[in-house]
Amino acid sequence: MYRVVEIERIRQEARNVKTFRFADDSSPLPGQFYMIWIPGVDEFPMSISYTGALKGFTVKKIGRGTSRMHDLEPGDKIWIRGPYGRGFHIDKRRKSLVVGGGSGMATLGPLIEEIKGDVIIAARTKEELIFTERFSHLNPWIATDDGSAGFKGYATDLARKLVEEREYDIIYACGPEQMIKGLVDLAFERDIDIQVSLERLMKCGIGICDSCSINGYRVCVDGPVFFKEELKNMDELGKVRRGWSGKREVVR
């Protein structure tokens, strides 16, 4: 069952990244996602980047469906189902370090609005940073691989530095899988709690097709947010995923 929603506003966030705002009366938790159908084109999963009455999807142009989405204008419609999956478990009392790599920041947007702590916004280069204005009041740390803005280097390196200098109870992360893997390792090494949002190729979105499974966990239903105890034995993290046929592939 889909519902049709109308796009009200569009904002260019970064190179190849746009936010689409729409009204919908569902009540997603930070970290949850929807399936977006563009009839005749594609259906794809998308995490919610703005909760509240005027919701948002922040979409990076990567495939057929997302490219078509980037051609849409205010007044155009999309078909959605959801919200799906398990979101972040938020404890407002805990001092948090939030690390968003590239479009992974989209997933973390609603979470950042609810927690206290520090935020790292990271990307390969300055033009790919998103939500620096949205969260400017929080004075986010910036990291770019090429040093075009903020800290020069990987988000994991900056996170390691901050973790060594400051005390955190928990790390929340979303972004490239090698970044997540690095942060999970850091969390175990420094005995800090961690929750991460993972991404896998997704077909059904409702926990039956097995396409998005990682070590027996379904990203669409058991995740996309996973907790430290689950990540402990997740040896496919950063290594193995499944392609459209279900064949094992190497994670880059």
Partner: protein
């Protein structure tokens, strides 16, 4: 109380994971076994890697009626499936390798491979309703069904199960043509379509799909009832089983065991545990010592 034996294979309960649901990854199958499934049927695997259809591949019917899907027999190909089988076998419950082919030779080749990988039985997919040249397109021809079953039987030593389609008026005739198999599995999904009126087009990228879930249960029960009285091999019931009472309906219609899939979507991944408890409670209350006492009791004789 729930132990059943089919073709000499022991199942600690008659609740088997159906093909096509959470059975692409060996780890996921292991998890489902640990959550109560008595056996596991793998995703249908073919000779070559196959991508299946683009999204949307699934549609959720309102009010928990069920699902319409057209995944399109996506699979990594038989050569890439050995690792998944080995992981699934680690679970300790019987593993049944589901295979699909275009002709006798492909089915026989795949069955042999599955046997080499160590599965306890193979299930021939003669019934997928949404893939050109496979499944149901083969499974509605009694002569072809007969010759595929015969060829596979001649090439492997493990039991051969034939999964049949409800999308025919000749179900008993087809079942009889497949009677050389060691067991018959009824039913696969029912061919269907959903149109989104706002989009003015079918939802599934393939147009047609296979309907599953509670809305097809009476079709499955009827098929098991009709077929089990006409054949001498065990029948395994599939289609819309969501509760312990649904299992009993199929058993009383003549099934020895059942396969469960869509219920995972409706009641969670631990649904096997839940159904197992419902079954036990009913059997205790009705003072039945073994579920096998109930096989076919609803048949009018």
């Amino acid at each position: 109380m729930l132990y059943v034996e089919i073709n000499g294979i022991g199942f600690h309960n008659p609740l088997i994971l159906a093909s096509g649901i959470l059975d692409e990854s060996g780890d996921t199958m292991k998890r489902i076994a640990s959550l109560g499934a008595g056996g596991l049927v793998t995703k249908s695997v073919g000779i070559k890697e196959r991508q299946g259809y683009p999204n949307p591949v699934i549609y959720e019917l309102p009010n928990g009626m069920g699902l319409l899907n057209a995944i399109g027999l996506a699979n990594p190909g038989i050569d890439s499936f050995e690792e998944e089988i080995h992981l699934a076998l680690d679970s300790g419950v019987p593993v049944i390798g589901s295979i699909f082919g275009a002709d006798e030779e492909e089915f026989a080749y795949l069955a042999k491979k599955m046997e080499e990988y160590g599965v306890n039985a193979v299930e021939l997919n003669l019934s997928c309703p949404h893939a050109k040249g496979y499944g149901m397109e083969i499974g509605v021809d009694p002569d072809l069904v007969e010759s595929i079953v015969k060829e596979v039987k001649g090439r492997v030593n493990i039991p051969v199960w034939a999964k049949l389609t409800p999308n025919t008026h000749r179900i008993v005739e087809i079942a009889k043509s497949a009677e050389n198999a060691d067991a018959l599995v009824l039913i696969n999904t029912v061919k269907g379509m959903v149109i989104d009126v706002d989009a003015r087009m079918p939802v599934l990228s393939n147009g047609f799909g296979g309907l599953s879930g509670p809305c097809i249960k009476p079709i499955g029960v009827r098929a098991v009832y009709e077929v089990s009285s006409e054949v001498d091999v065990p029948v395994i019931g599939v289609g819309g089983i969501t509760t312990g009472k649904d299992v009993l309906e199929y058993i009383m219609a003549g099934a020895m065991a059942v396969e469960i899939g869509t219920a995972i979507y409706l009641r969670g991944i631990d649904v096997f545990r839940k159904i197992e408890k419902e079954l036990k409670d009913w059997l205790l209350k009705n003072e039945i010592k073994s579920i096998t006492e109930l096989v076919g009791v609803a048949q009018r004789r």
